[in-house]
C-alpha cells in the first residue's frame, strides 16, 4: 500500500478577493502529489473549520492580502481550539516582519509566507507539518 496522500485545505477568509496566491499555492501542492481543496472567497471561520474537520485535512492554508490577517488568524485559531482540532495552519499574505513572531508564538500559526516566498519552500513546509 502506498503512502497516504497529504490533504490540504486552502481557504480565503473575509472579504478579500485577491485569489492569485491561493490558487497558485493550491496548484503547486497538487503538483507535488497532495490532495488539495480550495474553498473560494469570502469564507467565514466556522465554514473553514468545519470543512477542515469534515475533510480530515492535514494542514490548513490561509491566504489574506487585505491587511486583516491578524484578525482572521486569531478567529480561526480560536474556532479550531474550540472544536478541539489540532491541525497546523499556515498563512500567506502581506504580513509585516514584526507580526510574524506574534502570529507564530501567540496566535499559533505554524508558518508565515510573505510576498516573495518560493513554492518549493511552501511545499516542503507543508510536508513537514503533515508528518508531524
Amino acid at each position: 500500500m502506498g503512502e497516504k496522500k497529504i490533504k490540504v485545505l486552502i481557504a480565503k477568509p473575509g472579504l478579500d478577493g485577491h485569489d492569485r496566491g491561493a490558487k497558485v499555492v493550491a496548484t503547486a501542492l497538487k503538483e507535488a502529489g497532495m490532495e488539495v481543496i480550495y474553498t473560494g472567497r469570502f469564507k467565514k471561520p466556522d465554514e473553514i473549520v468545519s470543512l477542515a474537520l469534515k475533510e480530515k485535512v492535514d494542514v490548513i492554508g490561509l491566504s489574506i492580502l487585505s491587511g486583516t490577517h491578524m484578525y482572521w488568524s486569531k478567529e480561526i485559531m480560536r474556532k479550531l481550539r474550540e472544536a478541539g482540532a489540532d491541525i497546523p495552519v499556515i498563512l500567506g499574505g502581506i504580513v509585516l516582519d514584526d507580526e510574524t513572531p506574534v502570529l507564530k508564538e501567540e496566535i499559533g500559526i505554524a508558518e508565515v509566507f510573505p510576498p516573495g516566498s518560493k513554492l518549493q519552500d511552501i511545499v516542503k513546509r507543508v510536508e513537514e507539518l503533515a508528518k508531524r
Partner: protein, 561 residues
C-alpha cells in the same frame, strides 16, 4: 513605406550579416538566453529592419496624433499642451483621513483624485454588518452613507478637479452619493467631472468584488452607464480593466485581449438598449492597464490597443464620430513586479513604469508605492510615487515629442504583433460564446489561473528576473523603518457615526424610497434615479444593496483553478 528593390537588397545583406558576422560572434560567445521573448511570450529578434515592417502603411497604421486610428495618441498635441493626469489611488480609514491625504497630494501637485474604498463598501456591507468585522477602513475608506461622502469631499471641487471612483459592484450607489453631494452644492450635473470603475465583468474573472449574478450585475452597470451618458457628459461611467486581469495572473497581452472581449460585451449591451453607438462610445472607451513590468511590450501594447479599439469601433460597431474611436488610457504600475526584498529598489521599477507610460501616450498615471509589498502607503512613499511621475513629466524631456518611438522598426513590428495576438484572443472568447458566456463557463478564470501558475514557475526558474529576490538575492532584504498601519479605532468610530446617522432620519421616507428602488429593479426601469432618491433620503449603502439582493439574489463564486 519602402520600395521593393531596397527591401530585396536589405534582405540579401541581412542574410550575409547573419551568415558571417553573427555566426562568428556566436562562436565566440553564445547568447545569454536560449530564447528571447517578451513577458507575454512574443519572440524577440536580435535586430529589426525595414523588412519587419514592410507592409506598414503610414496613414492607416500610424497616422498623425489625434487622427484615426490614434496609434500615436488621441490628441493632436498630447503632452505638449496638457501633461498626463497624475492621480494616486488613495484612501483608508475614515472619510476625514482620506480627505486629508487627498489634500496633501493636491498640495504636492497631484492633478486628479483616485478614491480607494474599503472592502465592506465595495461589497455593499455597512460597517456594522457582521461580515464587515475586521475589514473596516483597511484597504480603503469606509463610506456607507451620504453624510460620510460629504466628509470625504469636504473643500474639494467636484467640477474643477476630476476624480476616479474605484468601485464596481457598488458603483451605482457610490456614484449616486457623488451626484447627491453635487446636487446639494449646486454643481450642475453636466459639470461633474470624473469617472468610476463600474467594470463588473472583470470582478468575476479577476478581482472578486461581485454581489449579484452576472446578468443582473451587467444590468446595473448599464443602468449607471446609460444614466451618466445622458446626464453627465464629463463623467466616464466605466473603466475597462486590463489591470486586474494581469494582476490576477494573465500576461499583459492576454489580459488586454480579455478586457477587449469584456468591453465588446458592454458596447453590445448598450446597443441593445437602443442607444446609438456615437451617443456613448467616447465616454465608455476608457481603460485601466498595468504599465509594467516590461518596457517595450507595454509601450507597443498600448499603441496596438489604441489602434485596434479604433478599428473595432469603426468597422464592427459603425461609429461615425471620430471621438467614438478614441481609447483613453489610465495606467497603474501594478504591484506584482514589486519586491518585498530591498523595497527601495521598487522606486526604480516604478520610474521605468512611469517612463513607459509617458512614451506610450497615456491620459493618466497612478504609480504604486515602494512599500506596496508591506502595507498601504505612507505619506512619504505616496509622495515619492507622485514625484516620480512629475520628474518623468517635467525633467526628462520625453513629454515634449509625441510618440517619440514611432517609426522604430522594432516598436512598429511589436505593435503589429500585439495587435495580431489581441485579435486572436478576442476571437477565442467569441468562440466560447462571448465574454459573459466565457465567464459563466469559467473559461476566462481557468486561463488566468493557468497563466498565474506558469508565471510563478518562470520566476522561480529565473526566467522572469526580480533583482534582489531571485537574482543577486541577499540573505535578508532591507527592512522598512516605517510602515503604515490603519488605526484600530476606525471601525468603532464609523459604526458610532452610522448609528447617529440612522437615528437622524425619517424612517418612513427611507422605506418609501427603498420600496421604489426595489420596484424599479423588478420592472426593469433604470435604477439610478431611485438610488439617488434613496441616498438623499438617507438610506445606507447596505440597505440599498440588500434590497437589490432580494430582487436579484447573490452570485455564487465559480471556484476554478
Amino acid at each position: 513605406m519602402f520600395d521593393d528593390k531596397f527591401l530585396e537588397e536589405l534582405k540579401k545583406r541581412q542574410e550575409e550579416w547573419l551568415e558571417t558576422r553573427v555566426k562568428k560572434a556566436l562562436s565566440k560567445a553564445p547568447e545569454r538566453k536560449r530564447e528571447f521573448k517578451t513577458f507575454s511570450g512574443i519572440p524577440v529578434k536580435p535586430f529589426y529592419t525595414p523588412n519587419d515592417v514592410k507592409d506598414l502603411d503610414y496613414f492607416s497604421d500610424i497616422a498623425f496624433p489625434g487622427e484615426y486610428p490614434y496609434t500615436s495618441g488621441i490628441y493632436p498635441l498630447m503632452y505638449r499642451s496638457r501633461l498626463y493626469t497624475m492621480r494616486q489611488y488613495t484612501g483608508w480609514g475614515t472619510a476625514e483621513e482620506t480627505n486629508r491625504r487627498w489634500k496633501y497630494l493636491l498640495a504636492h501637485g497631484e492633478t486628479g483624485l483616485s478614491a480607494a474604498f474599503d472592502l465592506p463598501t465595495q461589497l455593499g456591507y455597512d460597517p456594522d454588518h457582521p461580515l464587515a468585522k475586521g475589514e473596516v477602513g483597511k484597504v480603503g475608506c469606509s463610506i456607507s452613507n451620504i453624510s460620510e461622502y460629504e466628509l470625504l469631499y469636504q473643500d474639494i471641487s467636484m467640477d474643477k478637479i476630476s476624480v476616479h471612483l474605484q468601485v464596481n459592484a457598488t458603483a451605482p450607489f457610490i456614484v449616486a452619493m457623488h451626484i447627491a453631494e453635487a446636487d446639494r452644492r449646486g454643481v450642475p450635473r453636466d459639470r461633474i467631472w470624473g469617472a468610476c470603475q463600474n467594470e463588473i465583468l472583470k470582478e468575476f474573472v479577476a478581482r472578486g468584488t461581485f454581489i449579484y449574478p452576472v446578468e443582473h450585475s451587467m444590468r446595473l452597470a448599464c443602468d449607471l452607464m446609460e444614466f451618466c451618458v445622458k446626464q453627465m457628459p464629463r463623467w466616464q461611467p466605466i473603466t475597462v480593466c486590463q489591470y486586474h486581469i494581469q494582476e490576477a495572473g494573465a500576461d499583459f497581452v492576454t489580459a488586454m485581449g480579455l478586457s477587449f472581449a469584456n468591453a465588446i460585451s458592454y458596447v453590445e449591451a448598450m446597443l441593445k438598449r437602443g442607444l446609438p453607438i456615437d451617443s456613448f462610445a467616447f465616454n465608455i472607451s476608457v481603460w485601466n492597464c498595468v504599465c509594467a513590468p516590461e518596457f517595450f511590450e507595454v509601450i507597443c501594447g498600448l499603441r496596438a490597443a489604441r489602434r485596434l479599439w479604433a478599428r473595432i469601433m469603426k468597422d464592427r460597431f459603425g461609429a461615425k464620430n471620430p471621438r467614438s474611436c478614441m481609447m483613453r488610457i489610465f495606467v497603474g504600475s501594478g504591484g506584482l513586479h514589486l519586491t518585498r526584498a530591498e523595497p527601495l529598489n521598487n522606486i526604480i521599477r516604478i520610474t521605468l513604469s512611469s517612463l513607459a507610460a509617458a512614451l506610450a501616450g497615456v491620459q493618466a498615471q497612478n504609480m504604486q508605492c515602494y512599500d506596496e509589498a508591506f502595507a498601504i502607503p505612507t505619506e512619504e512613499s505616496m509622495r515619492i510615487a507622485l514625484r516620480t511621475m512629475q520628474i518623468v513629466a517635467y525633467e526628462s524631456g520625453v513629454t515634449d515629442v509625441i510618440d517619440p518611438l514611432a517609426g522604430s522598426y522594432f516598436v512598429e513590428s511589436l505593435t503589429n504583433e500585439v495587435e495580431k495576438k489581441l485579435k486572436e484572443i478576442i476571437q477565442a472568447v467569441e468562440d466560447e460564446g462571448g465574454a459573459i458566456e466565457a465567464i459563466r463557463k469559467g473559461w476566462m478564470q481557468r486561463l488566468i489561473a493557468k497563466q498565474a501558475y506558469e508565471q510563478q514557475k518562470r520566476i522561480e526558474e529565473k526566467d522572469i528576473i526580480r533583482i534582489g529576490e531571485n537574482l543577486f538575492a541577499v540573505e535578508r532584504g532591507e527592512r522598512l523603518e516605517s510602515v503604515f498601519k490603519v488605526s484600530p479605532e476606525v471601525e468603532e468610530q464609523v459604526i458610532e457615526r452610522l448609528e447617529k446617522f440612522k437615528a437622524s432620519r425619517d424612517k418612513r421616507q427611507v422605506e418609501e424610497t427603498l420600496a421604489k428602488l426595489q420596484r424599479a429593479a423588478e420592472t426593469g426601469e433604470n435604477t439610478m434615479p431611485y438610488i439617488i432618491d434613496a441616498v438623499k433620503a438617507k438610506a445606507t449603502l447596505g440597505e440599498m444593496c440588500e434590497r437589490l439582493v432580494q430582487v436579484f439574489g447573490r452570485a455564487e463564486e465559480m471556484v476554478v483553478w
